[in-house]
């Protein structure tokens, strides 16, 4: 049953061409291009640069998958999605992978029929306020006006947090990060709340980042990860193990610079399996031997991607924290390549 749905005026329910499609790998290969859902513009995670090229932490995941599957990291079509449109875009088949700092939750994983394939950033929700406000804790925000993106988990956390602390607030519902930034800068809201990484990225784009502080309270767990459609396990495996390949590469010291050299010289059996020197792991997921090698060469291993886009050397300046390797006290832990 591959007939596309034509729903006339039910435009918002873009079920078109989506359902029933079970072999995403074949579709992507036939198309020669990976459709990747990304943020409409969040510096460091996914934003087009001055030349219109998409860059960022989430964008590099798209590139790695494209490199693994198609052999070319540039064969990606980036589809900007808002908090409201992202899951519809995925379930309708408009995108093959959704790498848009989306929180992995129970209902999204089950009821929305998505499959989160892992976590590429462990985050939590925070608040940003102007320094002039004199607020040092989220507990002092009673009566405040708060800008919030609709359709996000943060919207629900915000309601719960203020309720739990017996405080009131006025929400200002906005559709995209850019709109939130504008409302916040105009003073139409006292505080802006979203994932702490998103706040840091937003603040980095301000003309006066030093005048804005991110409050210490982290009010929720926000494990952000790429998602695929439910029901195509093979495609899910490909995206999941591409992410693990990037994480494992950092653990074993494989970088975009030394990957060629290690392919010939490394005596570590795990590295040899990862890079396709000994076992042919790629065949098990319908790819060739060197899929993981290409994924790593696309933008480097997980650590390189983190450092280049959102790390402490960038304007966003996020520390590794929870996102360090498990060997460094963090939560990044790739399953064994065996």
């Amino acid at each position: 049953m591959n007939t596309s749905v034509f729903l006339g005026s039910v435009a918002a329910v873009t079920l078109m061409a989506g359902a029933g499609m079970a072999d995403t790998l074949a579709d992507v290969k036939a198309r020669g291009e990976l459709n990747c859902g990304v943020n409409t513009g969040l510096v460091g995670f996914a934003a087009p640069d001055a030349n219109g090229n998409w860059t960022g932490f989430d964008v590099d995941i798209c590139k790695a998958v494209a490199a693994a599957v198609l052999g070319d990291a540039t064969k990606v079509k980036y589809v900007p999605t808002t908090g409201q449109t992202r899951f519809t875009a995925l379930s309708s088949g408009e995108v093959d992978v959704l790498a848009r700092n989306s929180t992995w939750t129970f209902s999204r994983d089950t009821d929305l029929k998505l499959d989160f394939i892992g976590v590429n950033y462990y985050d939590g929700q925070g608040f940003m306020v102007n320094k002039d406000l004199g607020v040092t804790s989220a507990k002092e925000l009673d009566g405040a006006t708060v800008c919030i993106q609709t359709g996000t988990t943060t919207e629900l956390n915000l309601a719960d947090y203020f309720k739990a602390n017996n405080m009131t607030y006025t929400p200002v519902n906005i559709d995209s990060n850019a709109e939130g930034e504008q409302q916040y800068m105009a003073g139409a809201c006292d505080a802006y709340t979203t994932d702490a990484s998103g706040l840091a990225a937003t603040r980095a784009a301000f003309a006066d980042p030093e005048n804005h502080i991110i409050l210490p309270e982290i009010i929720s767990k926000e494990p952000l990860g790429p998602a695929v459609r439910h029901g195509d396990s093979n495609w899910g495996d490909i995206v999941r193990w591409t992410l693990y390949a990037l994480i494992a590469a950092e653990e074993y010291g494989v970088t975009s610079a030394n990957v060629e050299e290690l392919t010939t010289s490394s005596q570590n059996p795990e590295v040899q399996r990862l890079l396709g020197v000994t076992d042919d792991l790629g065949a098990m997921i319908g790819l060739d031997k060197e899929w993981a090698k290409r994924a790593i060469m696309a933008s480097g291993n997980y650590g390189e991607i983190f450092a280049a886009n959102i790390g402490e050397q960038t304007p966003i300046g996020l520390a590794r924290g929870l996102n360090a390797q498990w060997t460094q006290g963090g939560l990044m832990y790739a399953m064994p390549f065996r």
């Binding site: 989506g18 029933g20 379930s91 919207e155 629900l156 439910h230």
Partner: protein, 418 residues
């Protein structure tokens, strides 16, 4: 005899379905009907099968789950613990609020602009032409965004009102504060509160509100009776009694008595903490949406009013002037009654347009039914098809109610042919 019957009415043959004029139209109607039904079946069947392929079912049960999100403007009590259904209802009320306010204001603006465009005053007529053309020919969404941006960027934030020498100050004797978030206006309070009528589901109406509505409606009916009495006296004697003071009296005195009885007074908003409290904060989203809808639809209504007035032949007003009627009376007694029957039918579709256009509210963060049911609820539950269908149903019912009401009104003013 049988032969005669046969020749007059030949036996039915299938080819007659096409070649016989008596059957042909029926044949084509049946074919079209079957095609339409087949298309409908194909659409429904496709949707169901594709939903099944995605593993999604069709279920409205989510409406009774906890919503979990907050809404800035709640005409009835609502917290994040309430259900998605109640959130949708709050959204519907917000849609109704902006639609009703918009329809009233657009009608006023439209009539003034439409009449002014026909004015003999060159400047006024040209100004109205500029207004109508500017608003009719720029998309509504842009007007909404522009108005909202003006409010956000130009008005001061609430904390600009703070301190001994504030950067901004309240207007209208410290009763109204224009900020970049909302317009803080006073609320009404009563020293002698009569309590509320509880309709269940935490929906209440204050008895004072009901009393005011009853008194105003009764006053309006009495005013009609006074006018009818004056008409009778005029018919009998030829002299119309002066009634304006009676009309004014029945419309205002009972209300003033109620205000005195309930001890109605205003509580001005005060800056406390981050925001103004104590008064009523009318969000800029609502004001911007309302203004933009009013001015946009008003431009269309202005054209309808102008067309309606121009449709009344010039001889009518010349005849009225010849009879010695003053211009105001000519307008009220001769031109408007005839113009209304041309104006009302297109006016209905403008009201429908305004109501449907109010769904652009999400652009300014005003939580109407598109923002609650079709926005946050849809997103948090992932029930796209159910939410959109429900929303389409709601707008359909709303539109049908509006057009029914307006059709009844139209029937009362249209040309009575005897």
């Amino acid at each position: 005899m049988t032969d005669v019957m046969v020749s007059a009415n030949p036996p039915f043959r299938p080819s007659m379905l096409i070649h016989d004029r008596r059957y042909r139209s029926m044949t084509f109607q049946v074919i079209v009907f079957i095609l339409v039904m087949a298309l409908a079946w194909w659409l429904v069947n496709n949707t169901v099968r594709n939903l099944a392929a995605m593993g999604k079912d069709f279920d409205f049960g989510f409406l009774w789950q906890r919503a979990g999100y907050d809404i800035p403007q709640t005409p009835i009590p609502y917290t994040s613990d309430d259900t998605h259904l109640r959130a949708a209802f709050v959204g519907l009320l917000n849609t109704l609020i902006v639609s009703i306010l918009g329809c009233i204001a657009a009608t006023v603006v439209g009539i003034i602009a439409g009449v002014a465009r026909l004015s003999n005053n060159w400047l006024i007529a040209r100004l109205m032409t500029v207004y109508v053309e500017a608003f009719r020919n720029v998309p509504l969404l842009l007007w909404i965004l522009i108005v909202f941006a003006i409010f956000t960027e130009v008005m001061p934030p609430p904390n600009a009102f703070r301190g001994d020498d504030p950067a901004a100050s309240m207007i209208l004797f410290d009763h109204v504060a224009l900020t970049n978030r909302y317009t803080a206006i006073p609320t009404l309070a009563m020293t002698n509160d009569p309590g509320s009528l509880d309709l269940g589901a935490r929906i209440t109406f204050n008895w004072a509100t009901i009393a005011f509505v009853v008194v105003l409606v009764a006053g309006w009916i009495v005013r009609r009776m006074i006018a009818a009495w004056a008409q009778r006296v005029q018919d009998r004697t030829g002299v119309r009694p002066t009634t304006w003071w009676m009309s004014l009296g029945v419309m205002t005195v009972p209300s003033l008595l109620l205000i005195w009885y309930f001890g109605l007074h205003m509580i001005p908003p005060q800056l406390r903490g981050f925001n103004f409290t104590g008064g009523l904060n009318v969000q800029n989203g609502l004001v911007a949406l309302w203004l933009a809808l009013t001015l946009y639809t008003g431009a269309f209504i202005a054209e309808i009013v102008r067309a309606g007035i121009l449709a009344v032949s010039r001889g009518q007003s010349e005849a009225a002037f010849a009879l010695g009627l003053r211009p105001g009376r000519t307008m009220n007694l001769v031109i408007l009654p005839q113009a209304l029957r041309v104006i009302i039918p297109p006016l209905i579709s403008q009201y429908l347009n305004l109501t449907k256009n109010s769904s652009l509210a999400i652009a300014v963060g005003y939580m109407d039914i598109k923002g609650t049911l079709g926005g946050t609820t849809l997103n948090q539950t992932g029930r796209e098809l159910e939410s959109i269908l429900l929303m389409m149903g709601v707008y359909l019912v709303l539109s049908l109610i509006i057009s029914t009401g307006m059709n009844i009104f139209n029937a009362s003013v249209k040309l009575k042919e005897r």
